[in-house]
Amino acid sequence: MIERAPISADPSAKLNINVNGREAVLDVPPSKRLLHVLREDLGLTGTKRSCEMGRCGACMVLVDGKAVNSCLAMAYQCEGKSVTTIEGLSEGGLTPVQQCFLEEGGYQCGYCTPGMVVSVTAMLANDPSPSDADIEEALSGNLCRCTGYGGIWRAVKKAIELKKEQTG
């Protein structure tokens, strides 16, 4: 859950936000959705727009490490928060999760993929060896219309396996 920040009465108030490790001060209305702040004000278009009501997960980002539909978070709610987008996850090259999606064919059109990768990353950060039921719960808010989730299941299982091998 995102904690509610007080709504500023000052129209000249700025949004202080850390995005992908960089501090930003943005002149945006407090009610602007984080999705649009990212895409329009910061040009981070890896975060996708689709249902804009928190059902499809295409706009998933990490806010203070937790997976959040950026279409449901308003700018004022992100005051002082740290946001990680798909671009942030990818800064040091492909993550193991991304590598597994690539190898197992966990995507087709790719439009849901950034959100899916963010949700899987958040899930594994929280629990490195989730059960099938845990996976279903963690990813039930990410719709994929192309793959039928076959490649996504394979990618997630592979990522869990890799994590296990790494931690011995």
């Binding site: 996708k48 689709s50 671009e87 995507y107 790719g110 279903e136 990813l139 490649g151």
Partner: protein, 753 residues
Amino acid sequence: MLLNRDTSGRRWRIRPDGPGKVTGELEYLTDLSLPNMLIGRVLRSPHPHAYIRSVDVSKALALPGVHAALTAKDVPGLNRFGIARPDYPVFCEDRVRFIGDAVAAVAAESDELAELALAAIEVDYEPLPVVDDPERAILGDSPLLYEEGNVFHRNGYKFGDIEAGFAAAAHIVEETYSTPRQMHTYMETEGGLFVPGEDGRLTAYSPTQHGFMDRMQLSRILAKPEEDIRVVSSPIGGSFGGKDELNVQPYGALLALATGRPVKLHNSRWESVRAGLKRHPMKITMKTGVDAYGRLVAHRAYVIADKGPYSTLGAEVLNFATEHVVGPYRFKAVDVDTVSAFTNNGMSGEFRGFGGNQAIFALEGQLDRLAALLGMDPWELRRRNLRRAEDPGPLGQPISVTGGAGQVWASLEGSALWRRRSEPPASAPSAPWLKRGIGAAYVMHAAGLGVGIPDPAGGRLQLRGDGKIEAFFGYEEFGQGLIASLMQMLIEMFGFAERDIVITIGDTDVVPDSGSTTASRATSMMWQSLRRLRGPFAGKLLEAASRALALPAETLAIGEDGIRGAKDGRLLLSYAALAGAAGQPIAAQTHFSYPTSPVDRVGAHYMYSYSAVAVEVEVNTLTGRVHVVDQYHAVAAGPVVNPQGYLGQIEGGSSMALGFALTEDAVMSGGHYLTKNLDTYLVPTIVEQNGAVTVDAIEELPEGDEHGPRGLGELGSVGLAPAIAEAVYQATGKRASKLPIDPALLQEPIRFN
């Protein structure tokens, strides 16, 4: 061959477009923006059916920051579009016929301002009676959408003595099947960026399934030569047929030309729902007779489709359904009558499966019901009536000969899932209200556009100055893996390395017209193109290399990185050096048409693929919910071009069939959508799709076959739905003839014994 990553070995490759997709770096056309761009929005009708008395945009135009507000009178060319028949108004002049109809469009400096401008447009409507039931629409007393009547298209097919067939039948089944208004639900809604150039040209960056078709239609609307329009159309965040027709392009193009500034449009999900295409809802009534041995002696089918207000490819979809309600079976007599009716409901149109999904759900339902009456194994009943390889097609037309029909039948018969039916369950259900059942369905599905419809194909290969082999095709990448399949064929058929190859698609300024990326045709046509290009292109490369190296061409071979010794494989000349030595571009081009059947029947198909699908379900009789536990797909579609893509088409297609069978329906009432977004329109999630999916890819083709890989893109989206309906019957004894299956049908009162 059981198809998976392990059995595919080195043929399982990472897609060239994959890294950009998993990192979010790939820019979709709706991600594009320019510093001075305007935002475009479209005003759509609030009424399903109404006269327009007047439209006044003056207040919108007076708002500071609003740069254009356009209506029908601002369209310089044809105020209509539509691939088959241009009857869809860009802007309605005097009448709206559904709630997606556009009346005006604005371009403003922000989305908020554009929305405000839409609200400032004054339209005076006079509501008309709403035609929302296709069956009533074609009765004499229905209000009319058009003076000519509400019948949009009729078709039919007959042979044999149908009455004698029914008279001789031991059993007859009569049933009416209904199918939902399924939505494509591509994750990327329609949109794009429209950029006027200083040279007077216009570039439309917007997803479509056939860039040249969009260019032609935009040319007609804008009254601007086709050469002055460039359509950039890939990559695409899903389409499934839904972006085949024009959608936002006319508005983006008109607004960009009117303002002289780039204009971006990107539909909200609700706008996509209200204006976008859906699968034609169909009601299919069948009467089918069988003799005591199980021979199908008579088959009557009546199909009525809900067209919505404009043509799209509705006639072609109905023709496809006419062909597929007959399907792969050797009926003694057939009488098919089909009609598509105009209504004020949502727009129906092209959608993966193209009328086959509805037709085959009904046809397979008949076979299962007849088997039950006969007391016969339903798969055995199919065997007794199944077409032979040399039989004509469903409409009596010659078709390409394969053994696919028998092969997929046998594969399913021998599958572990199907054999499990006759075995006692491995364990008792975990709760008394959970019931399991297994069902199967058979699919014969056509590809290509069919007789009488232009269906061009082709492509070009070129050695670039920098030594890259560039492949140009006019096909689109909407996720199916077209780029990956093309890359794989170039590597396997020519011997190039991936690093040698550059693929260029989706840009009308540089690609040849390869025809549409629809009808399960693109991979087949790329394979055909490369087969035709292999000799000429390799010949030209070797000829130039022979001159450069002063060696006989027959001692040389094309390979990874360049020209190699034919015997020892040693690299003799890199492609860059060859390009330099040749001095002029080395290229080869091919142009041909999709093969068609030699008959005089519009839309009849020549190429077919086959699949057989078995499914195990678990029905919760407390909730009425159906869970798919295990799936088996036998697929005969010729050689596997790209294993990951092939598997993905079957897994992904079947997920759409699962939604079609169990949860998906864009519900309408009185011409209004009740399901406006993904909170009520339910596509399968990972929870619904957690069962095993096994795919047996049968690659074998008859000796001397020239057609190679068959259509695959739609095949997987068909068979699971009828198989689920039969599995539900096996579990519960209840027949579902209406999709999606209503949970209320399957709910049982709790009994305490």
